[in-house]
Structures are given as structure tokens and as C-alpha cells.
């Protein structure tokens, strides 16, 4: 299970490096979508995986996943703009709060795998949409 978290971190790092090299050709609307997407999925996946390991520490896991989502959103948003960073902060924080609740209610199921596949697909779509923006 912790392999999924490792996989998500590696995929996010690779995608962020690619987005960083393409940041001059990216329009602000696509940049806002990218910041929201990475922050939200990092918060959700961190919460879902960590609440399965430590079910007695719901409050601290919620804080950790919210901070992780917010930091990823801010770091992605700072590639482009300060307003994009603000949007990424708000969205990553919200989704990070929701993650442990979903993970505790649903358990570790195919949910994490499907979210990871959706994240890879969306990152690929965003990479292909960069030259048109």
C-alpha cells in the first residue's frame, strides 16, 4: 500500500519537472488547472493511504494530508503566477481535508488505483494541451 504513495510521489515529481521546463509556453488557465489537479490528488491519495496505516490518529493524519496537498499546490502554482499559487493552496487544502474521511469510510480498495490512473491520464492530457494554450 505504501508503494502507491511512493509511486504517486515519483510520478508527481516527473510531471512537475516536465511542467517546469514547459512553463513559458503554458497559458494561465491551463496553469491554474494543473495546480488544482496536482494539489487535489496529492492531498486525496496521502489521506487515503495514511489513514489505513494509522486509524487512531485521524486528526494528525488530516493535518498532514492537508499540508501536503497545500504545499504541492503552492509549489506547482508558483511556476506560473501568484494567483495560481493561491488557487492551488485553497484547492489542495480542501481535498486534503476530504481524503482521510473517504479512506476511513471506504477502506483501501480499488479507489487508490483508480485515482492514480485518473491522475496519470489527466497529467498526460495536460502535457499534450500545453502547445495549444
Amino acid at each position: 500500500m505504501v508503494f502507491m504513495l511512493y509511486l504517486h510521489i515519483v510520478i508527481t515529481a516527473v510531471c512537475l519537472k516536465r511542467f517546469f521546463t514547459l512553463r513559458d509556453q503554458t497559458g494561465f488557465h491551463l496553469g491554474m488547472n494543473i495546480a488544482m489537479m496536482t494539489g487535489a490528488f496529492t492531498g486525496l491519495l496521502t489521506g487515503i493511504i495514511l489513514i489505513d496505516y494509522f486509524p487512531f490518529y485521524f486528526v494528525f493524519i488530516t493535518m498532514i494530508s492537508a499540508v501536503a496537498g497545500a504545499v504541492t499546490g503552492v509549489v506547482t502554482g508558483l511556476f506560473y503566477d501568484s494567483q495560481t499559487a493561491l488557487t492551488g493552496l485553497a484547492n489542495g487544502f480542501m481535498m486534503g481535508l476530504m481524503g482521510p474521511m473517504i479512506g476511513a469510510a471506504a477502506g483501501f480498495s480499488m479507489l487508490t488505483v483508480i485515482l492514480e490512473i485518473a491522475f496519470i491520464f489527466m497529467a498526460f492530457l495536460a502535457l499534450t494541451a500545453v502547445p495549444k494554450s
Partner: protein, 144 residues
């Protein structure tokens, strides 16, 4: 403790609204959208989380209505109509999340969790988030 956080979040929201109303001629539309989305999200989350811990399954519709309406009023007073739509949407989203989190904190068996400790940290954490967002917004006022 949640009562102090509730009152201070209302004061900070009123301060934001007055400042946005004063600066409404210098705001561009995209900037107003972003700022009001962030403010309404943080305010709705803090207000409804502390309200869910104060009122305990009663009068939650008032808290929910206050959060949605605050985003709407804050957006309308900034002079852009699309900003009011963005504020109302993010305020209702944040307050839904806050009410859900407050109910889970009061009764962790809703999610199949064991009994938790340190529940009073959560409203303080959301208030810290709201203050940090407010500081970032104040810092971005000078660059339009």
C-alpha cells in the same frame, strides 16, 4: 475555544469584505475571482467547523447559510458578478466540508474509526489556514 474562533473568523471576514469594497475599482476580474474564492473557502471552512462543534447537530443550516451568503455578499461588494458566483460556490463547498469534518470529529463511528483524541486542534488548524490565506491575500493587494 470554538466560540473564540467563530467570532474571530467573522471579524476577519468582515475586515476582508470592507477592504475589498474600498478597493473595488482597482481589481481586475481574474484577480477578484481568485481572491474571493480563497477567502470564501477559508471562511466557510472555519465558520462551519467551529459552528459544528458549538451547536452540535442543531442549527447547522444557519451556519451553512452564513457561509454561503458571506461568499455571495463578499463577491457582490467587490463589483464583479462572476466573483460572486465563485465566492458562493467556494463558500458552500468549504462549509459542506467543515460540517462533515465536524460531525466525524464529534462521532468517529460514522466513518468506522475508533475514539479519537485532540479534537480541539482541528478548528485551530483551520483558523491558522485562514490567517495564512489572509496574509497572502494582503501581500498580493499591491500587485494587481
Amino acid at each position: 475555544m470554538p466560540e473564540i474562533i467563530f467570532l474571530s473568523a467573522i471579524l476577519l471576514l468582515v475586515f476582508h469584505t470592507v477592504l475589498l469594497f474600498k478597493k473595488r475599482f482597482t481589481l481586475t476580474e481574474r484577480y477578484a475571482n481568485t481572491v474571493i474564492a480563497a477567502i470564501a473557502g477559508g471562511a466557510g471552512l472555519t465558520l462551519s467547523l467551529s459552528g459544528a462543534l458549538i451547536f452540535k447537530e442543531e442549527l447547522l443550516w444557519i451556519v451553512f447559510g452564513i457561509s454561503t451568503l458571506s461568499g455571495y455578499v463578499c463577491g457582490t461588494l467587490s463589483g464583479h458578478t462572476s466573483a460572486s458566483v465563485s465566492g458562493a460556490m467556494n463558500g458552500s463547498l468549504g462549509s459542506a466540508m467543515g460540517v462533515m469534518l465536524g460531525e466525524v470529529l464529534l462521532n468517529p463511528a460514522l466513518c468506522g474509526l475508533p475514539i479519537q483524541e485532540w479534537q480541539f486542534v482541528m478548528p485551530v488548524f483551520s483558523m491558522i489556514y485562514f490567517v495564512i490565506t489572509s496574509l497572502l491575500v494582503f501581500m498580493t493587494y499591491r500587485l494587481p
